[in-house]
Subunit: 141 residues, 2 copies
DNA sequence: TAACTATATGATACATAGTGTCAATAACAG
DNA sequence: CTGTTATTGACACTATGTATCATATAGTTA
């Protein structure tokens, strides 16, 4: 398993590059996302930017996911979480006890998807994979 | 890729085995599920059993998913779909155009998850994987 | 800079996907 | 059959968004 390295995040620049206007609400949402250490829910982000409309927060998240700057993660239960996409393509571990999200890349995974491409009925246009774990911290308790 | 073969489905027996009571509403829900050829949403199932309470339909689906008799599939957008679990463990293809769901097993996939077990921080307790495709039928149009 | 125009905002209503409550009902053990 | 307990279904409620639309503003142009 390769832990993806850090990378610059300039979410506002991402939006600008795509031709969207740089508004104060978008700046506040983007700044707040860049401050998040862990994966977060949309509602949590809403609370972190009081005064910014809920619809605007959801709209901005959607733009960033479409831009590939944010990962959207399906949780075993409850609302999806989002995290900065630090690498182009990777997958996630989610601790089912504490909810902590980890990023990883693994050549085995990518080989598997390539192998699968020859087998499925049609063309693979995407995939989603989450690995649910009992993380070492939680297992220690 | 191995296409899982057919298998008997006796959803009511599954519930009975787990110690739940065999009620008329549960029989109607189970019968309706067994009639579904393709993956279905919870709301669709509700419509297929008029007179049975919505809460009962959702509760029955949840029991069957917990029993392993139904697969719950995350769709790219919208509500999850459910389909009969014809084999013990397998994964799904979902056509992003027509929504058609396919089951598959592939030794590459299982090897990949075994290999991953040695690499992640903690113990793998589950995983979810969906492969999104443009199916051959849709590609033909 | 000022005016213009398309884009974006946010209040609000609406939609969807469920879950919690609880009085009434019914399964099933004895 | 009776009693106990699981189950039901109406209803309210929560969570997670999306659609509408009057208002505001970013960025362009004069
Ligand atoms: Mn990630
Ligand atoms: Mn399946
Ligand atoms: Zn943990
Ligand atoms: Zn298709």
């Amino acid at each position: 398993m390769t832990t993806p390295g850090a990378q610059r995040h300039d979410l506002i620049a991402t939006l600008e590059d795509r031709g969207f206007r740089l508004t104060a609400p978008r700046r506040r949402v983007a700044d707040s996302i860049e401050e998040q250490r862990d994966a977060f829910t949309a509602e949590y982000l809403c609370e972190s930017v009081p005064g910014v409309g809920r619809a605007t927060v959801y709209r901005t998240i959607k733009l960033l996911v479409e831009s590939g700057a944010l990962c959207k993660l399906a949780m075993p239960d409850g609302a999806p979480k989002y995290s900065l996409a630090r690498v182009g393509h990777h997958h996630h571990t989610v601790c089912v006890r504490c909810g902590k999200v980890g990023d990883f890349r693994d050549s085995t995974v990518e080989r598997m998807f390539r192998s699968l491409a020859k087998e499925v009925d049609g063309e693979i246009v995407g995939h989603r994979m989450e690995v649910y774990i009992d993380c070492s911290d939680c297992a220690a308790t």
